[in-house]
């Protein structure tokens, strides 16, 4: 509330205005500084990744793509990138299928111990990463799966599934079940009803969940640190190893690439979710 009435402005000097609105001015100032704090480090990373210098310097003496070329010329980085992409793709498929089915069952069914089931499904969101990591580490050591991409895929799918369940559930809550009943009354089989009625309606939720599942795996580090061994070095794991070794600008260029992937995925998921919310609002508007 910047409440400066006409009387106040006309009657007071400039310094008088400042003292009266000191609160608002300070507030804006603090907000601006916090904003700067949030965004500056990312800008620095992006700029440094295009630096032409051998050392870290901001602003850099000149610009070049040498650190991106360097990234592409190192087989270690490229292999890690490819591994991360296909691991995340497998996680996306597993988490989307299991998560979508579970969301339908959880929202529609009246199952016993529903709260417990829900807690199980959502718990990866609160259990500290390190706890999950050493749990699965012990497990994989016992069954000899350390260093296998399968180990990472299996663990990441469990971590990613809640995002699919949450997003699909959200679309199901706004779903008019009469549409399904109408289809069945008209002679559609269960599968046809699902394929031609339910699926198209909940598709934005599935896609949003799938995108989040992809990033969850693509950016995940802690589980990967413990179970990737030497055979399944994912991109975050490779970044971790390099950062511990030194802060070379190549890592900045890789960082920028991962930022682009995450932002694209999150942004699409967010836009899909907004569209669903708008559609649901319109739907309930019609019903009223």
């Amino acid at each position: 509330m910047t409440r400066t009435s006409v009387r106040e402005v006309s009657g007071a000097s400039r310094t008088g205005w400042l003292t009266r609105n000191l609160g608002s001015v300070l507030l804006e100032l603090v907000a601006g500084l916090v904003m700067l704090f949030l965004i500056a480090p990312i800008i620095v990373i992006v700029v440094v990744s295009f630096s032409s210098a051998n050392y870290l310097s901001f602003p850099p003496p000149g610009f070049s793509l040498r650190w991106y070329v360097d990234y592409l010329n190192q087989p270690g980085w490229v292999h890690a990138t490819i591994l991360s992409i296909w691991t995340a793709a497998c996680v996306t498929v597993i988490a989307s299928i299991l998560g979508t089915a579970a969301a339908i069952g959880m929202v529609r069914g009246r199952l016993p111990a529903k709260r417990l089931l829900n807690a199980c499904i959502l718990s990866p969101l609160i259990v500290p990463g390190i706890v999950v990591a050493i749990g699965v580490y012990f497990f994989y050591v016992r069954i000899g799966l350390i260093g296998s991409p399968l180990a990472i895929i299996a663990a990441h799918s469990a971590l990613a599934a809640p995002f699919v369940v949450l997003n699909v559930s959200a679309t199901l809550y706004g779903f008019n079940e009469r549409l399904e009943q109408a289809a069945q009354n008209l002679g559609a089989t269960r599968w046809q009803t699902f394929r031609y009625i339910t699926l198209p309606i909940i598709k934005p939720g599935i896609v949003a969940g799938a995108l989040l599942a992809f990033v969850t795996s693509f950016d995940e580090l802690i589980v990967a640190l413990f179970v990737s061994g030497t055979g399944a070095v994912t991109l975050p794991r490779k970044m971790w190893d390099s950062i511990r070794f030194g802060l070379e600008p190549t890592i900045a260029s890789v960082s920028v690439l991962t930022i682009i992937v995450s932002v694209l995925a999150f942004l699409s998921a967010e836009l899909l979710r907004r569209r669903t919310l708008r559609m649901m609002a319109r739907e309930s508007g019609h019903a009223a």
Partner: protein, 303 residues
């Protein structure tokens, strides 16, 4: 659900009686059974690849040579080091939460009162770091604070220092990076609560003669409590179990519980690593349940 109620209604009102009712009940059961079948694959998957591993890790903390034992927990009290690590972790989480709250509130408040365009731009600028991975964000601060990093480069070029300062691998570095990484988790719930406050309440307070400060302390602040609670919970729980940032940026004295778990694992002290992990899990769950009693959980996951 609509179908169920229709069927039950038909079942009870029909004169056909007992046999028919039993048939309907069977149909309803079959319907529920199908839903259970849909949930089952995910639950089984989680049991095998997540719940069983974590549970057996917890069991590992009480397994002795040939029987169950609490001796591994006894090790916690052998040296004061572990107690110090525990307190260090709690203190770090608490301080991070409070600093985040202090920084996030003014920003969220300003955002909630900004014009739609300005609010949208600010929102996007909050989401950008939020969407960037924790590893990359920690790396960004290492680039800024490192011995050959950007701050040292600036300071020496300005002639203020002759030797690079040791900023990295200090508690200062850990705090600043932890706050940086967790700040969006505080801003988002705060913003969503502050934005939903009905502006007519503020106008009413103003019309009744309240000053800006009074409006804030008597109207805005109480109404924003759920957002404060949600933000604090998320930040505190995440900070408690934090591994990446302190492990990368902390010195030898800034060990957290999660780092200690990893260290013990490297030393093949599996049972003791399990003890520490159980402790961390237990503590996180307690904090979570306390908050859950105070506010609903569900809304917190609206990421």
């Amino acid at each position: 659900m609509a179908l169920t109620t229709q069927v039950t209604a038909a079942g009870t009102s029909s004169p056909g009686g007992e046999e028919r009712r039993r048939l309907y009940r069977r149909i309803l059961f079959a319907e529920q059974f199908r839903y259970a079948l849909l949930v089952a694959p995910l639950i089984i998957y989680l049991l095998v690849f997540y719940i069983y591993p974590v549970a057996s890790m917890l069991v590992q903390s009480v397994i002795g040579e040939d029987r169950l034992t609490l001796q591994h927990f006894g090790r916690l009290f052998e040296t004061p080091v572990y107690w110090r690590v525990f307190m260090n972790t709690v203190w770090l989480a608490l301080a991070t939460t409070l600093i985040c709250l202090a920084l996030a509130y003014p920003l969220a408040y300003t955002m909630s009162r900004a014009s739609p365009t300005r609010a949208a731009v600010m929102f996007a600028l909050v989401l950008l770091p939020f969407w960037t991975s924790i590893l990359v964000r920690s790396y960004a601060w290492m680039v800024l604070l490192g011995r050959n990093g950007i701050f040292n480069d600036w300071l020496s070029r300005a002639g203020l220092i002759s030797e690079p300062l040791n900023l990295l691998y200090t508690p200062f570095a850990v705090y600043i990076a932890m706050v940086y990484v967790l700040l969006p988790f505080m801003i988002l719930p705060l913003y969503s609560v502050l934005r939903s406050i009905d502006p007519s309440l503020l106008r009413a307070a103003e019309g009744l003669g309240a000053s800006t400060q009074q409006i804030f302390f008597y109207v805005v602040a109480p109404l924003s409590k759920p957002g404060v609670a949600a933000g604090c919970l998320v930040v505190f729980i995440l900070a408690l179990g934090f591994y990446i940032t302190p492990a990368l940026m902390g010195g030898q004295r800034d060990v957290t519980l999660a780092m200690l778990v990893a260290q013990q694992l490297d030393m093949y002290e599996w049972n003791f690593a399990a003890v520490l992990a159980s402790l961390l899990l237990f503590f996180s769950l307690v904090v979570f349940l306390i908050f859950d009693k105070m506010i609903g959980i569900e809304r917190m996951f609206a990421r």
